[in-house]
Symmetry: C2
Subunit: 218 residues, 2 copies
DNA sequence: GTCTATACTTGGATAGAC
DNA sequence: GTCTATCCAAGTATAGAC
């Protein structure tokens, strides 16, 4: 957002600064989304933000730092959305539905691609991998919480701990995102969510899992 | 295989050419493995191969073409390995063991990373995505064949078609590869294979899956 | 077939004017 | 805080000498 004629008022200086920062973060998300890690250069991002290339380095020091800020921004956004959705569907069946809906949302909005591109691109910049890994941990923790909050502890003990399941869920999410983007077809991935839903219902009928819509047994 | 410079002399002379080609393909694999898509430039690959940068363009036209040749090379290699392993363990339980063993092999050898980097990097080069997608299809087809060859058709009909399961397996494989490389810890991924093995055994005991079909080797 | 040299482009990062 | 100008490194690709 170029503001050629806007003078910086005394005291409102941090407003303009914050505005530019946010514009850059938003632009970084957009570029990662559409062009991937490779396209996410300071010049392209600044173009997208409508500001100068040097501002990337002024505000973030390096391009990698800006990309991490972008990841944090989408993560915060999605975390709110996920939390609200999970809170309203604390049963295994409900969770499966929520997972499917959110997966499709992320596919549309491109939020998942930002994550995948940053993970794969981590090899490019020394130190980036560790930063990204720390942020992924937030998601596995979240998934773990959702699982242990909705699945009977006895069942978990009999099959697999929530930690392991959460790790698998996150991996599956990333893999499906990659494949869906690659062949531009989300139907196959969504079909899998449908199957999962079906199997959860089957398990419910067999008495292994709590019945659909049932309250949290605990 | 449209080569830019087809040797003008019939007969010999293609030995040296073929040697260089193979050196470049091997070097491309190595660079993708260790440095990712970002590092896979003509210069770095040629350095690794011990030859001149211009040869990349002489033999392959573009860097992207060389990377695809590298993907084909590792795919051919792994396809042989997978086929042999699957042939010796056609039961669901055996398949799970084979999958775990091969996943670890791929993690060590870096073959899986070559695939992941190319998928994620596809956004960088127009047209690359379609080429990579076509090659992934070979793997989903392979997985589908292995599944329908070892799981009871009746059970498949009751749960999910082999095509869908195969898609999910490939997605999971890619996701686990990404996460394992990211935090440099393969234990979590391998633990999941252990759980899968356990669940297959449980299903066998419940009579849902064949109890190690008559295949048991030796 | 292979190498050297080179043209052209893009990207990261800094300095200094406004 | 923001912009222009600039430096330097790295990349793709081609031409032409050996």
């Amino acid at each position: 957002m170029a503001r050629p004629g806007v003078p910086s008022k005394p005291g409102a200086a941090s407003d303009a600064s914050e505005g530019t920062r946010q514009a850059l973060v938003g632009a970084a998300i957009e570029v990662l989304r559409t062009g991937g890690f490779h396209a996410a250069s300071a010049r392209r991002i600044a173009d997208q933000a409508g500001c100068n290339q040097g501002l990337v380095f002024y505000h973030f020091g390096t391009v990698a730092n800006l990309l991490l800020a972008a990841l944090d921004a989408v993560s915060a956004d999605r975390f709110e959305r996920y939390s609200a959705a999970v809170a309203q569907a604390p049963s295994p069946a409900g969770l499966t539905d929520v997972a499917a809906a959110i997966f499709e949302e992320d596919l549309d909005s491109g939020h998942a691609k930002v994550l995948v591109e940053l993970i794969a691109g981590s090899s490019a910049v020394p130190g980036l991998g560790a930063e990204v890994a720390a942020r992924i941990e937030g998601w596995t923790d979240f998934a773990e919480g959702a699982i242990s909050g909705s699945v009977d502890p006895v069942l978990l003990a009999a099959t697999a701990p929530a930690t392991e399941i959460a790790y698998g869920i996150v991996a599956m999410y990333l893999g499906l995102e990659m494949l869906s983007h690659l062949d531009g077809d989300r139907a196959k991935a969504l079909a899998l969510f449908g199957r999962a839903r079906q199997l959860v219902a089957l398990a419910g009928a067999m008495g292994i899992l709590p019945d659909v819509k049932g309250d949290d047994p605990r």
